[in-house]
């Protein structure tokens, strides 16, 4: 792709507590281009939330690097603040994301005040900027919402306020962590449609972190599937979801309740934790292809458990980190 906006290379983020090291992100290569909507799919323990938070500068990478618009991620307080104007965050729980003691106006104005947007705008006052942001997030008329407190709003309205607060900074990238998972089903569509509209109207780039493949189908251009700190599959959304190459993606897709026509592959065992990453291909202890003999038939069964899997080179278009899917490379 032409000059990606965000370039992640060999990223690793480790947490250590009492001598035990958890490799939450263990080697990720990913490019995100301008105006793209990329879905980062995975379950709990996959490292997707850690990856998102590292992109925002809320976590420090242990290894590897992130480049935004050609320059590496800033580390000093002042440059980090400037970076935050351009890359913003929407969290999962809209109720918890808003300070219960601040009115909607104050919540949205916060970012505007921190970054002194009024001085940079062309004659607009703070009220104008707040009103504009609320309108863009679908809260009309904005004046009705200025003095409301979060507990007086519904879940969907709260999420719109959070989005308005982020959009008030006119960012280039929005990172949304499970933006609709705690909202009622009938209003999910509205919030997702809002994200699409923001991309179309303002050229926003969106990275959606989610475990919901249906959501990815709804709005994503590309999908990256994470398992235990690494990307295991990557590609255009339609290709990944209609013809998944990696056994993990195949299993995930098969258990989505609407997929009646696919025999569900329910993986045994629990999602292993990042402090004890299996050797060889990290998915091999639960891999259905290994358990049902397909790997054996292809003659690679012993490779799966022993040979370490390299980091998925998504920049070169590599699709799946699996010996079975890429017979030539094993």
């Amino acid at each position: 792709m032409t000059d990606p906006l965000l370039r992640i290379r060999d990223l690793a983020v480790e947490f250590s507590a009492r001598g035990v090291v958890a490799r939450a992100v263990d080697g990720v290569d990913l490019d995100i281009g301008a105006r793209e909507i990329v879905a980062l799919v995975g379950e709990s323990g996959s490292g997707k939330t850690t990856l998102a938070r590292t992109l925002l500068g809320l976590e420090r990478p242990t290894a590897g690097g992130i480049e935004f618009d050609g320059s590496p991620l800033p580390t000093t307080v002042r440059r980090l603040r400037a970076y935050r104007r351009r890359v913003q965050l929407v969290l999962q729980d809209p109720t918890g994301s808003l300070n219960p003691r601040q009115t909607v106006y104050e919540s949205v104005a916060e970012g505007i005040r921190i970054h002194r947007m009024v001085a940079k705008s062309d004659g607009a006052t703070e009220i104008d900027l707040v009103a504009r942001s609320l309108t863009r997030s679908g809260l009309r008329p904005p004046e009705n919402f200025f003095l409301r407190y979060p507990h007086e709003l519904s879940g969907g309205q709260r999420q719109r306020v959070v989005i308005a607060g982020a959009m008030a900074l006119e960012p280039e990238v929005l990172i949304a962590d499970e933006p609709v998972s705690s909202l009622d089903a009938s209003i999910r569509g509205e919030i997702l449609a809002l994200l699409l509209r923001l991309r179309d109207e303002f050229g926003l780039t969106v990275l959606v972190v989610t475990h919901d493949l249906g959501l990815a189908w709804n709005i994503a251009d590309r999908i990256a599937v994470m398992y235990l700190g690494r990307l295991v599959e990557h590609g255009p959304a339609e290709r990944v979801l209609s013809d998944p190459q990696h056994p993990y993606t195949q299993a995930l897709l098969s258990v989505v309740p609407e997929m009646h026509h696919i025999e569900p592959i329910v993986l045994t065992g629990e999602t292993p934790d990042p402090t004890r990453i299996p050797g060889g291909c990290r998915f091999h202890p639960r891999c259905p292809a290994l358990l049902d003999g397909r790997a054996e038939a292809a003659g690679i069964a012993d490779v799966c458990g022993t040979k370490p899997m390299p980091v998925l080179d998504t920049a070169r278009g590599a699709a799946a980190a699996c010996w079975l899917a890429n017979p030539s490379s094993s």
């Binding site: 969290l91 918890g96 808003l98 300070n99 219960p100 921190i114 003095l147 982020a166």
Partner: protein, 304 residues
């Protein structure tokens, strides 16, 4: 309401009105706790007595050189609570003593709350060496036995009302700091703090606009309980003779009564009233504090 001539002021003014509304609701909720109201009533009485002391009993009545009563006289019409060993009216002493006890108690609490809140916030917010050091200092002060510390400090700094207030403040701030720290840690783990950080808020902004307002209710409830403790501590110190000898306080009255052997001579009017006053005032503050805790807790739960 499309006012672009007077911007943020309008929004903030109305936001203030809403805060006053919320204060009104707090008061209405507090009114439902009878115990709290009783405590408040008692405090108002004592407070008025302290403020109007010169009107209720002239200053001369507590000056030793102008004492007109006999030694340890039993209560009578002239002296409703009898007299002390110097012939002063015990009632007058009680009224003037309330000033010192209450003032020192409040001043000490102010010191304690200020110090405790600052240290608690900082040690809860900063997870680096600075924060950890503050925490260790808090723990150290908590562990050191307060009475010997108080005695040493009073002796070194000399006996004056300010010293006493300062000593009490030094001795009671760690408990507040620990409480505020725990509350800060809990608030900082909430998503809206993360959002503030993601928006670009610095440490100072995070603490001032997000942590502090949400910590304040707990601080408020804790303050009233701290006052109770401070008054008790002042009484103790005065009883031990560490307070300013120039001023009468309930503790110093107890000290005098003890020295003069009021119990053995049966002069109950000298011994009992100051003790009862201390108990009643401390109880009043405690009742208010407990009522406030109940008022603030369900709200914190429903807002969270």
């Amino acid at each position: 309401m499309t006012t672009t001539s007077k911007p943020a002021l309008t929004a903030r003014q109305v936001a203030w009105r809403r805060r006053r509304q919320s204060a009104g609701r707090t008061w209405a909720e507090f009114r439902r706790h009878r115990s709290g109201l009783v405590g408040l009533g008692v405090l108002v009485v004592f407070g008025l007595a302290a403020i109007c002391a010169p009107l209720l009993a002239s200053h001369e009545s507590i000056e030793v050189t102008k004492a007109t009563g006999g030694v340890l006289e039993a209560p009578s019409w002239d002296y409703p609570l009898g007299t002390d060993a110097d012939g002063r009216s015990v009632l007058a002493l009680l009224i003037w003593g309330s000033r010192v006890s209450l003032m020192v108690g409040l001043l000490a609490t102010a010191i304690s709350m200020l110090l405790g809140t600052l240290v608690g916030l900082a040690s809860g917010h900063y997870h680096n060496f600075f924060g950890k050091a503050l925490f260790r200092i808090t723990e150290w002060f908590l562990v050191v036995p307060w009475l010997p510390l108080a005695i040493v400090l009073s002796t070194v700094l000399g006996p004056s009302l300010l010293t006493v207030a300062f000593v009490i403040g030094i001795v009671s701030w760690p408990a507040t700091a620990l409480l505020i720290r725990a509350q800060t840690l809990s608030i900082e783990s909430r998503p809206y703090l993360e959002r503030a950080r993601a928006l670009g808020a610095g440490d100072w902004r995070q603490m001032r606009r997000h942590v502090l307002p949400n910590v304040m209710p707990m601080v408020f409830a804790n303050t009233t309980l701290t006052v109770a403790g401070a008054i008790l501590t002042e009484t103790t110190l005065a009883f031990l003779g560490l307070s300013d000898p120039l001023y009468v306080s309930w503790g110093s009255m107890l000290d005098e009564a003890f020295n003069v052997g009021a119990i053995t001579t049966g002069a109950w009017w000298f011994m009992l009233p100051p003790g009862i006053c201390v108990i009643v005032v401390v109880l009043a503050f405690t009742l208010i504090g407990q009522a406030l805790e109940e008022v603030y807790n369900p709200r914190l739960r429903e807002r969270a």
